[in-house]
């Protein structure tokens, strides 16, 4: 019987939640990496037992963890204890946590500064991995979106990482600046129909697309309007929070921006607002139904000054028309005295029939709906603040 595995990253560790296809009874394992911030955990579509986790700490820096047994055991790729510190050919082990910005002459550009909060130019400084995106086809290839914003790729299962420096080098890098949460590359979307194409998003620079597997990039922010930057329609500077795609229609993108829910029907070349009747169009998460490419989910948040749901009610909003017309989904969700947030990587969908929807809150709840959002139940109620939720549908 098929089942699901929900991968949850929290402020104080990772948790793995599993259930069969009915999604009624859940086993909870964890905390893994107790006490560490787990920004993201995601499984390889090419090998569901291979999981990658971003483990990070203000004290000890960045750790990449990998599991090859579905989350039962974890190792840092390439760094078994007690073994020689160099591998065949003298390749040093212990490099899985090393994210070194490319400053090679091959790039032809001095990729050294971006705009800082005070308007001065500031050197890029690696802080952490926000998002991990495994390849759709190769279990050894995985992408990492990092703070300060850059895109890295590993082709050896996470043992070593190389920057795809064409992103920072395409020309606007010196104009990028951090949002309140830092200058992070938090969204990586791979095109299942075209391995040369991927999309990324950066707070606060905007969305970018490559059509040559990461060598060159272009901003795709036309149609976005952001009142909080000097030129509201500037080429870059927009605080994109999240982008979602349905794999059957990779040219159609949905975006939750800082304010505004947006849609593009031409792979980001032009965006139009589809906030419609949402009670507020501020928010972080956005996702698409696994089988209905025009069915989209968001969780409206009151404002950028009040990072909690409006009116004390936790409501997921669903549009069955690709935006503009939204309905509140409330059954099973708290409708009074609720003041949680749902962060950008904390919603995911499974591919069972009916489609399951999952999200986690800063209050430590992980909610699941086994009927596309009509009814919700908490899988767990009292985890540390949830940073990310991913779902694997298992055979």
């Amino acid at each position: 019987m098929s089942g699901v595995r929900v991968l949850v990253g929290t402020r104080k560790g990772a948790f793995v939640l599993t259930a069969d296809g009915k999604r009624e009874h859940w086993d909870v394992s964890g905390p893994h990496f107790a006490g560490w911030e787990i920004y993201h955990v995601k499984g390889s579509p090419a090998d569901p037992n291979r999981l990658f986790a971003s483990q990070t700490s203000g004290w000890f820096g960045q750790i990449i963890q990998r599991s090859d047994d579905g989350g039962k055991t974890w190792t840092q790729p390439g760094t078994p204890p007690g073994e020689p510190t160099t591998g065949p050919g003298g390749m040093p082990k212990g490099e899985s946590n090393k994210f070194q910005y490319d400053s090679s002459s091959e790039t032809g550009k001095p990729l050294t500064t971006h705009q800082f909060y005070d308007g001065t130019q500031h050197p890029w400084e690696f802080k952490r991995v926000w998002h991990i995106e495994p390849s759709l086809t190769d279990p050894d290839t995985v992408y990492a979106g990092v703070e300060d914003a850059a895109l890295f790729r590993s082709k050896d299962g996470g043992k070593s990482w190389q920057e795809l420096s064409g992103l920072r080098g395409h020309g606007t890098g010196p104009k990028w600046q951090p949002g309140a949460g830092g200058m992070c590359l938090h969204t990586i979307v791979l095109d299942p129909s075209n391995p040369q194409r991927m999309f990324i998003a950066i707070s606060a620079a905007g969305a970018f697309r490559t059509d040559d597997a990461g060598k060159t990039w272009r901003p795709i922010n036309q149609g976005l309007r952001s009142q909080y930057i000097p030129d509201p329609t500037a080429e870059i500077g927009h605080c994109v929070h999240r982008i979602a795609m349905h794999r059957s229609r990779p040219g159609v993108l949905f975006m939750q921006k800082h304010w505004d829910v947006m849609r593009s029907d031409n792979a980001g070349d032009l965006w139009q607002e589809v906030s419609g009747n949402l009670p507020t169009d501020f928010g972080f998460v956005i996702d698409v139904h696994a089988h209905e490419p025009e069915t989209v989910y968001v969780v409206p948040i009151k404002s950028d000054g009040e990072h909690f749901v409006p009116d004390g009610k936790l409501r997921v909003y669903r549009s069955r028309s690709g935006g503009n017309e939204w309905e509140a989904l409330t059954k099973g969700l708290p409708q009074k005295d609720c003041y949680v947030n749902v962060l950008r990587d904390a919603m995911a969908v499974d591919s069972l029939d009916k489609c399951g929807i999952y999200f986690g809150t800063t209050g430590g709840q992980v909610y699941a709906s086994a009927d596309a959002g009509d009814n919700w139940t908490p899988i767990v109620r009292d985890l540390p603040a949830v940073l990310s939720v991913e779902v694997q549908t298992l055979p």
């Binding site: 006490g35 560490w36 700490s57 203000g58 004290w59 000890f60 820096g61 960045q62 750790i63 840092q76 390439g78 760094t79 204890p81 007690g82 510190t85 040093p92 082990k93 212990g94 490099e95 946590n97 090393k98 994210f99 070194q100 690696f126």
Partner: protein
């Protein structure tokens, strides 16, 4: 034999319990001890010193013999008591969070 006391999170990463004992060749300095530590436990690379700059992480301190050695030059000799193994080198995570 040099003794090093790690914070609990780093002991978990390195899969060790209690103090770490290291052989250090040549002058016993902070750099030599950390090099030996990372050579034996490669998973600790980047956790005490930045991977690229080799600077001590801001929220980590290095104590020994009731002294804060965090700002000593990395190639300065450590106290004899550390070099002889009589006293441990303490790597401490700064207390924060109230």
């Amino acid at each position: 034999m040099i003794r090093v006391v790690l914070p609990s999170h780093l002991r978990a990463l390195a899969h060790v319990r209690g103090d770490v004992e290291l052989e250090v060749e040549g002058p016993v300095t902070q750099r030599a001890v950390l090099d030996a530590l990372e050579a034996r436990y490669p998973m600790l690379r980047g956790t005490i010193r930045d991977h690229v700059t080799q600077e001590r992480r801001a929220f980590l301190r290095i104590f020994a013999c009731s002294e804060d050695l965090s700002h000593e030059p990395p190639d300065a000799l450590l106290p004899d008591a550390v070099a002889s193994g009589a006293e441990p080198l303490l790597i401490i995570g700064a207390i924060a969070g109230g």
